[in-house]
């Protein structure tokens, strides 16, 4: 019931936040903060499972689902409300809620206009995302998948910057058109499953043995893949991302980059690989190539940007390329690396977007050419920014390094060329991250700012506390990666096993030996 409680708290919190605006101008911010904190407290209920997983109890000793709720919804279509929660979902929900708090804090001073409606949309987006991370019925999954879109559209279209309408519509059409393909694939999957088994069901667990013909499975797999690849985003389908991320308000960028993108990766891991193992294995070389291209192309474009927020946005394309590469390496090691990357990238990108937001609030520009020398004016902010920049470039000792390294390690036996290319991307990351630091924080103070009368204020506690917390988490992940690996191991193992059971034996010989990272430090 905890998943349902969390989702309902977020939905109800959204409505309350909207209403509370009328009583106190600050009310909606506090309501929104309180509801996310309440959800986090609810999540504490799983402490037992977490500690069991961390202490390395064997997979067999645990049920796959920590909690499973099931109720009838639309019997005509065999649609049920099935919400499950396992280690992977837990990690992602935790990430969602933590960054949710960071987003509320980041928007505290930024949003003055229609604060109530802002928080309504904000919480509803979060509710949709938590729903996506827990739904086990494909219809329900699609439902939540769409529920998170509309509020996100409003967040960009109403509170965004400059070219927000264009960005919002582009974002929506890209995601919605691709999810129509997914809806089509879902319906087709259910129908063929019905033909083979005589049961109409959208239950993911029952659909696992659908017994489709390989060609059909391949086409349906593509339907899922395109929807998830748009969200991820993978390279030819990424063009919505720089616009949406750049024009969104800070809190919106944080949710978009840090969490919403993860729904695509989650969909690949949770649904696409297990449902279509053969088709995914057949498609893996292409997907890994797309991943490697995304890494390089994203890094190159990030390097070419003069808008700081756009740079961070393109760096997301590059980092999510590692996720794609890792997932389609189809072994436990790489999938665990991909999961780690999802979390580490969420934290580091959220930090960078928050920093860009703070700078923009102060000097009203995102153009890096007009910044410079900020270290002298705001040393604490600069130090934090340096931390997140090096986290993003993959400095050893931080979560991102572990993630990217693990992905490369896992992917190498499967696809050497793609892995080598991807590794070059790490250099690209160092280049753009350091260039950003150089342009913004080092060097001479630019004249334009010298004219400005007010001093450039350093970070306030409201701004720095969430950033420091995220930084601490990144260090913790870097030094103690088992926090993530042990929790995600059961899911990753199950999926990798399913995928490997259908791999050609030659490749199995390569990958079968890679151990799960359960017993890491």
């Amino acid at each position: 019931m905890i998943q349902i409680s969390i989702i309902s708290i977020l939905f109800a919190g959204g409505v309350l936040a909207w209403l509370s605006e009328q009583f106190r101008p600050d009310g909606s911010r506090w309501v929104s903060l309180a509801s996310i904190v309440a959800c986090l407290l609810l999540l504490m209920n799983f402490n037992g499972n977490v500690s069991a997983a961390l202490s390395g109890t064997s997979v067999a000793a645990q049920a796959q689902w920590w909690e499973l709720v099931s109720a009838e919804w639309i019997p005509r279509f065999g649609v049920n409300l099935i919400l499950g929660l396992d280690g992977l979902s837990y990690l992602l929900i935790l990430l969602t809620l933590l960054l949710g708090i960071a987003g509320v804090l980041a928007s505290w001073k930024e949003i003055h206009d229609r604060v109530g409606f802002f928080h309504f949309n904000y919480l509803w987006t979060l509710a949709g995302i938590v729903g996506v991370f827990t739904a086990l019925d494909l219809f329900l999954f699609f439902f939540f998948w769409e529920v998170m879109l509309i509020p996100m559209l409003f967040l960009i279209a109403i509170w965004g910057h400059g070219n927000r309408i264009y960005a919002a519509i582009k974002f929506f059409i890209f995601t919605q058109a691709s999810s129509l393909l997914m809806l089509f694939a879902i319906v087709a999957l259910v129908y063929f499953n019905y033909q083979n088994t005589g049961v109409v069901t959208f239950d993911y667990r029952q659909l696992l043995d659908h017994g489709l013909a390989p060609t059909t499975a391949f086409w349906l797999m593509l339907g899922f893949f395109i929807a998830f690849a748009v969200k991820l985003p993978a390279v030819p389908l990424h063009t919505w991302l720089p616009d949406a991320h750049t024009q969104a308000p800070t809190a919106g960028s944080i949710i978009l980059a840090a969490i919403l993108l993860k729904t695509g990766a989650y969909g690949l891991i949770r649904f696409m690989l297990p449902i279509f193992p053969e088709a995914s294995a057949a498609f893996a070389p292409v997907a890994m190539a797309i991943g490697a291209i995304s890494i390089l192309y994203g890094a190159k474009l990030a390097f070419a940007q003069s808008d700081m927020k756009r740079l961070v946005a393109y760096s997301s394309v590059s980092h999510m390329g590692f996720v794609l590469l890792g997932i389609f390496a189809l072994n436990t090691l790489a999938i665990q690396g991909a999961i780690m990357q999802m979390i580490a990238h969420g934290l580091s990108t959220a930090g960078l977007f928050a920093l860009v937001g703070m700078i923009q609030e102060r000097i009203h520009t995102r153009e890096m050419d007009r910044m410079g020398g900020l270290w002298i004016k705001a040393p604490r902010m600069a130090a934090i920014a340096l931390f997140f920049a090096v986290a993003s470039l993959g400095l050893p000792g931080l979560g991102n390094f572990i993630a990217e390294f693990t992905v490369l390690l896992g992917a190498f036996p499967t696809n050497r060329l793609a892995t080598v290319l991807a590794a070059i991307g790490l250099i690209g990351a160092a280049v753009y991250a350091l260039i950003m630091m150089q342009k913004v924080f080092f060097g001479k103070t630019r004249d334009q700012q010298a004219d400005e009368p007010q001093a450039f204020a350093d970070v306030t506690p409201r701004e720095s506390v969430p950033l420091l917390a995220m930084a601490l988490l990144l260090v913790a992940l870097g030094l103690l990666p088992k926090l993530v690996f042990n929790l995600s191991a059961p899911s990753a193992e199950t999926i990798a096993q399913a995928a490997q059971s259908v791999l050609p034996s030659s490749r199995l010989a390569d990958t079968g030996a890679t151990p799960a990272l359960r017993q890491w430090p």
């Binding site: 005509r76 769409e146 519509i169 058109a177 089509f184 129908y191």
Partner: protein, 529 residues
Amino acid sequence: MNAEALQALTPILTLSGVIILLMLIVAFLRNHRLTLGLTLLGIAVTVWSTLNVSPLLETDPIAVTGLLVVSRESLLFYLLFLLSAAVVSILAFHSFEQGTAIQPEDSGEKRNKGDFHTRPTFQEEFYLLLLISLLGAIVLVSASHFATLFLGLELMGLALYALIAFPAIHANRNSRSKDQALEAGFKYLVLSALATAFLLFGIALIYAQYGQLQFAAINAAAAAGQGTPVLLAIGLVLLLIGIAFKLSLAPFHFWTPDVYQGAPTPATAYVATVSKGAVIAITLKLFSDIGAFEMRAPMQVFAVLAVTSMLAGNLLALQQENIKRLLAYSSIAHIGYLIVAFLVGRQEFGREAVIYYLVAYIVTTLGAFAVVSLTADYARRANTQSSPYRISFYKGMFWRSPWLATSFTMMLLSLAGIPLTIGFIGKFYIFAAGVQAGYWALLSAVILGSAIGLYYYLRIIVMMVQRPGAVVHDDASSGEVSPGEVSPSAKLTHEGVSIAISGQMVLAVLTVALLAFGIFPQILINWIQ
């Protein structure tokens, strides 16, 4: 005719009685409010009698002579059309009170307030015509014989010509509105007559083959191997062309945007919902009764029409600045989607999909037109200068009238097929039906069309949530508040689009239905089954 058959006929008889009664009352006493009240009362009584018939039909449909068949399915359509007509008449009431019904376009010209009260407006006749057209629709959906089919269709159509051209009564008023309405009515008249000619020719060909006009008898004769199936197929294709005109499937859609734009908005809502719904319903019945689903030629024609409608409707809607024209093109596309499910109508699931989508389409379209109509009424009252039918009129509406805008957003999201709304379940049904039949090409057209459609629906939604600038220029001399004049300093004005209580209730009911059937579709599915 036995007592049971007579009882099955009560909804039709009741409605006819109401029409005659209303006609007599109007002859003696013209009172707008009274007429609306009587219309609604008449509809309520008919609804009540329809519900009373329903227990009779637990097992089998009842055939009333050879001409009509009353089944549970047709009762569902009765209710749907009756309720739609009730909504339309409430909208019409407000339109007449504000004068938008007799002057749909009032592009900023100075208007002498109260002017239209000095001349007879014959507004009571609008309700009469509406009820007559409704009677036609109800007869049409229970037809089991080509004679009743034709009678119902023409009864519905004849009343519609007058409804569409209603503003033309006021000869020397604003000439642009008059011309537009006349053009709309005339276009509809001529093209409908053409469509009817095709339809009659098709019926004649079928009659020439089998000597029968009753659906079941034709089916029996065809099954027995009489006549040439080729002529039956040709007859059906001709019939289909007539139907395609009525449904405004591309390439027979040219009348639609002009008629939608020129007609008073309540009449537009009626054309878009009841008139099209009734034609869909009878086509479904006709096709399953005479076994046309097994014939390739008509089905292929229908499939081609569906694809062209989906693509043409969506593409043409992209460029529209007038909201009524936009909804016209979008309705072309929606009927296109519906035809995809219709092609699977032989199976129980396909029938269910058609009916569900039809309900979704009617609820949503009515809602959208209700918003347009009520907003236009308000604009007339507030004497705004820019045309309330332009999309830009809706700019920033979310901040001025959050409830109205929320409800309109819901309607548009439902048209776009986004979850939580009835439109999503409808689209889901279409996907499911299409997948069952393996119509991959048609489904890709549905996906493509929906993706294009998103853009223009979103445009309106985004327009509504835009932070307002000065949108609507107030006519300062009128001394009334403008809905959109917002200075940057005072961003949140309190003057929203104000709507009469009954209008608000209509919107509330439609929005609630849209959400309820979107979240709990099983309720509606149970009724359909």
